[in-house]
């Protein structure tokens, strides 16, 4: 056992952790597809999927089998290379972002110095997935969806970054573990309330969740940018959306709700509970709200959210200056 130096052991443990977190993220994303349908059913006075296994618990397995064995069809008029590339980007960029999230004091993939910036970069890359998917499909509905998605994501990412600058300025670091540590006494939801509001909105918009699902807008665009996708390529877009949801929930928890911190329960449970609350919030929004018009979504972003984040940042800066000079 001479090769098992502490260094190698640490590396192996890190790899194992990374694999576990990766699988957990995908699995939770997949489970969310079923959880969402069950919850929607609950709120809509119906059952939702309850036929496969006890209480529908095996629905996910059935869905998986179905989606894996469906015909993987690429339309003859599609741009083949981009068409195949798009869903991989959609899935990969979001999964990579999980890397920066400190789940518990001991768990997490990478402790990056620029943690938060890495997330912004990945969210930026994610736009390409939608754009490529919509363009390569050679379908007009997909194209309109892609145009909407890129315009929307670009505008909302502007203030998504700015919304978090208050947190970064207060902590003095982009590192996620530092940010969690800085919330030991007071969660950032209190001093950074407006930052939280705008980040939540931007997070919904960036993951194309209802009511910001204009890129998909079933009633208008018949599913938008992924209308031509089938089988597992569609599955990757689909699971990708849920992975995005989990990611944004986890980020909100880490940045504004003290991450894993909390009394009595072990950190992992605190993290899971807090994240779960936001996941349910995402679904509740979908169940309860109609969809605003696309141009209103854009003007809401630029005219209300962006000024709000700027003011928030300004006030935060002023407070920090006051405190340091005193």
């Amino acid at each position: 056992m001479s090769w098992l130096t502490p260094q190698v052991a640490a590396t192996l443990i890190a790899i194992a952790q990374a694999i576990v977190i990766l699988l957990a993220a995908v699995l939770i994303g997949a489970v969310m597809t079923v959880v969402e349908r069950r919850l929607l059913g609950l709120w809509q006075d119906r059952y939702g999927p309850n036929r496969v296994g006890p209480f529908g618990s095996l629905q996910l397995v059935a869905d998986m089998i179905k989606i894996f064995f469906k015909e993987d069809w690429i339309p003859p008029f599609a741009d083949r290379r981009l068409f195949v590339l798009a869903p991989s980007i959609a899935m990969a960029s979001l999964l990579l972002s999980f890397m920066i999230i400190p789940i518990t004091p001991g768990w997490g993939v990478a402790d990056l110095y620029i943690g938060l910036l890495f997330f912004f970069a990945m969210a930026g890359i994610n736009v390409y997935a939608v754009l490529f998917g919509g363009w390569a499909s050679g379908n007009k509905y997909a194209l309109i969806g892609a145009m909407r998605a890129s315009a929307q994501t670009l505008s909302y990412e502007v203030f998504m970054g700015l919304a978090l600058m208050g947190v970064v300025a207060t902590t003095g670091s982009f590192n996620m573990r530092d940010i969690v540590a800085a919330q030991a006494d007071l969660w950032f939801i209190v001093p950074q309330f407006f930052g939280f509001c705008t980040f939540l909105i931007a997070g919904i918009a960036v993951t194309h969740r209802h009511p910001f699902d204009q890129p998909e807008a079933e009633q208008e665009l018949a599913d938008g940018y992924h209308v031509e996708y089938s089988s597992m390529k569609f599955g990757m877009f689909f699971i990708g959306e849920y992975v995005g949801m989990v990611l944004v929930s986890a980020l909100i928890v880490t940045l504004f709700f003290g991450g894993w911190q909390g009394p009595w329960l072990p950190p992992i449970l605190w993290f899971a509970i807090k994240t779960g609350v936001f996941l349910v919030l995402f679904i509740l929004l979908r169940a309860s709200l109609p969809r605003p018009r696309y141009d209103r979504v854009m003007s809401f972003g630029w005219r209300i959210c962006l000024p709000l984040t700027l003011i928030n940042l300004l006030v935060t800066g002023a407070v920090i200056l006051l405190n340091t000079s005193a």
Partner: protein, 593 residues
């Protein structure tokens, strides 16, 4: 005599009509004949070359006939009882309506088969466009000067004109249907949209327009409806509705079904309206037969029709909100519809298409305990309606999506032949249940809700208010259901009451004849308009003294409502278009028939 059922004598004895007199003075010999009928309006035969002048005159009268309510044709070649009518192989008829005078007039033009053409009246009434296309499609009558006389209900590749009497009515009279690969390609090619043929530009200032096919299969097209959009970004520059994908030839079927056996077909015209569809048909037949139904029948009919109005409006509300992106309300409205269907099922034994009205009555008497069942529904609904208002109609996003979107004025509505809730949303107080009560509506106490802006919001809110009024009407039915027979005591009541059929040989023979051959109705013409779920639905029946109808014209509200879409949507956004489609409340079966 009640208001809804004038007899032949009453029609003949009617005092000389001021409008007919005025027309005779103005146009003299151009009015070739005044036809006596049971349609309840003057029916004038007009010389072909004077038609447009007469129409223009009627439209521009003070309180004139602003709406072209209906336009279609009759193939007269096999008609044996014509009683001194002018010679004609084809008769094109124009049914004009004046809201302010609350009266109608029908103009007819006779055409010879060798010269089946007449001037298009699209310059006088814009909404004649689709109606004339339909007449051309179905009868091969040509309209000179029509902007685009193309097929509308049949595929562009079709040959023949189906409603002509020499066109076969049964599938067995044709060769078996085949579709080859080449045939499929031809059909598809024929459906390809060609912007130039519609006078559309392909580009503007160097940037290309997108032509987007919305439908025939699209989640928000509410059936097989195709709309070709000319888009600049998301702005709709122009659009072209394309209908006919749900055409089943109901009017042709009526010509080979007995008066009695056509009733189930009417259920499927507006398939969300159930027995509401039976009503104009049986009322029109009863006019021909001279049947006066007992008060109990009238009340039962009103009650069931209003119940179906609620059911249809609930479907509307759920899908309307779903088109605005709210996914949950539709499940709640379907829960309510289920409650309505439990009552309908208990009373009629069927759910969507009960075909429950009969000539001279209804199929059977109300079952024991029907009132408790109905009361349960009446108690359930009001709180739910309030909930929909609180959760959705008062929601800021819903308001922002619907207020001042796709708005039109009463004038526009009349120009395009818009009726029903969509007309009343513009503030025009025209509800046939009040203005021309039929089936005993004059005995009920209810209000007619009106809108103000004629926009998507008003069209939605108005239907919620209408449901409340319908509940009021049903409550009055439950409280005051008259005693009596559920069928009229008349030889033409079809089928005759079963209890008597089992005991009297005369009734048994009548029953046998009516069920095997069908009742024979005297030759005449009758018409009944009703305030159906989606607007004014009317049946214009021509009897040639036979067991079957000679011609059944079904005027449905959804047809003109779709024709109006392009005039509203130019300059709107795609989401506005979807919101408008959701607010029209149409079903394609009601459009194509």
């Amino acid at each position: 005599m009640s208001v809804g059922t004038p007899t032949l004598e009453a029609a003949a004895k009617r005092a000389p009509d001021d409008i007919v007199e005025a027309l005779r003075q103005q146009f003299g010999d151009a009015i070739t004949c005044e036809q006596a009928s049971l349609t309840g309006m003057p029916v004038l035969w007009v010389a072909r070359d004077k038609l447009l002048k007469v129409m223009g005159y009627l439209r521009d009268l003070s309180d004139g006939f602003r709406m072209l309510f209906d336009l279609s044709c009759i193939d007269e070649r096999l008609r044996s009882h014509r009683r001194g009518l002018p010679d004609a192989d084809f008769t094109v008829f124009y049914h004009l309506l004046s809201i302010n005078r609350n009266r109608d007039i029908m103009l007819k033009v006779g055409l010879a088969e060798s010269d089946a053409s007449l001037p298009s009246c699209t310059a006088v009434y814009v909404n004649a466009n689709w109606y004339e296309r339909e007449v051309w499609d179905m009868f091969g009558v040509e309209f000179r000067g029509h902007p685009r006389l193309a097929r509308i209900l049949m595929p562009p590749t079709w040959s023949g004109h189906p409603l002509r009497k020499d066109y076969p009515a049964r599938a067995t009279e044709f060769d078996p249907y085949t579709l080859t690969v080449a045939g499929q390609n031809t059909e598809q090619q024929a459906l390809k949209f060609d912007p130039e043929s519609w006078g559309m530009q392909r580009e503007r200032d160097g940037s290309e327009f997108m032509f987007l096919n919305l439908g025939p299969n699209h989640p928000s097209a509410h059936g097989a409806f195709r709309l070709v959009l000319q888009l600049d970004g998301e702005e709709v520059i122009d659009c072209v509705p394309d209908i006919g994908y749900h055409h089943r030839g109901a009017e042709k079927m009526a010509e080979r079904q007995s008066w009695h056996s056509f009733i189930p077909y009417t259920d499927r015209i507006d398939y969300t309206g159930g027995v509401m569809n039976n009503l104009p048909y049986v009322l029109a037949v009863e006019k021909l037969a001279g049947i006066q139904v007992p008060a109990r029948v009238e009340t039962i009919r009103v009650m069931m029709a209003e119940l179906f109005r609620i059911s249809s409006h609930l479907l509307f509300l759920g899908t309307y909100l779903q088109d605005l992106g709210a996914m949950t309300p539709v499940f709640f409205t379907f829960t309510d519809r289920q409650k309505a269907y439990e009552v309908i099922e208990g009373i009629t034994g069927f759910r969507m298409h009960p075909a429950w009205y009969r000539i001279g009555g209804v199929m059977q008497d109300l079952p024991r305990g029907w009132d408790r069942l109905m009361q349960g529904f009446l108690d359930w609904m009001p709180a739910r309606l309030r909930e929909y208002e609180k959760a959705m109609m008062e929601n800021a996003i819903v308001k922002e999506r619907t207020k001042h979107i796709a708005a039109f004025t009463t004038d526009d509505a009349l120009t395009w032949g818009v009726t029903g809730p969509n007309l009343r949303a513009t503030g025009c107080d025209f509800d046939l249940r009040k203005k021309r009560p039929y089936s005993g509506y004059q005995n009920f106490d209810f209000e007619v809700p009106l809108g103000h802006n004629g926009d998507v919001f008003d069209r939605g809110q108005l239907r919620i208010d209408e449901m409340r009024q319908s509940l009021r009407i049903i409550q009055q039915c439950v409280n005051n259901m008259p005693a009596g027979d559920y069928k009229a005591d008349h030889p033409l009541t079809t089928p005759p009451p079963r209890e008597r059929m089992l005991q009297h040989i005369e009734t048994l023979i009548t029953h046998f004849l009516q069920v095997s051959w069908g009742p024979v109705l005297k030759s005449n013409e009758s018409m009944q308009m009703i305030e159906a779920t989606k607007g004014i639905n009317s049946y214009y029946l021509t009897s040639d003294g036979n067991t079957m109808s000679y011609r059944t014209r079904i005027r449905t509200p959804s047809f003109p409502h779709l024709q109006q879409i392009p005039s509203l949507m130019r300059g709107g956004f795609v989401p506005d278009l979807i919101a408008h489609l959701g607010s029209i409340d149409f079903v394609m079966a009601d459009v194509d028939r």
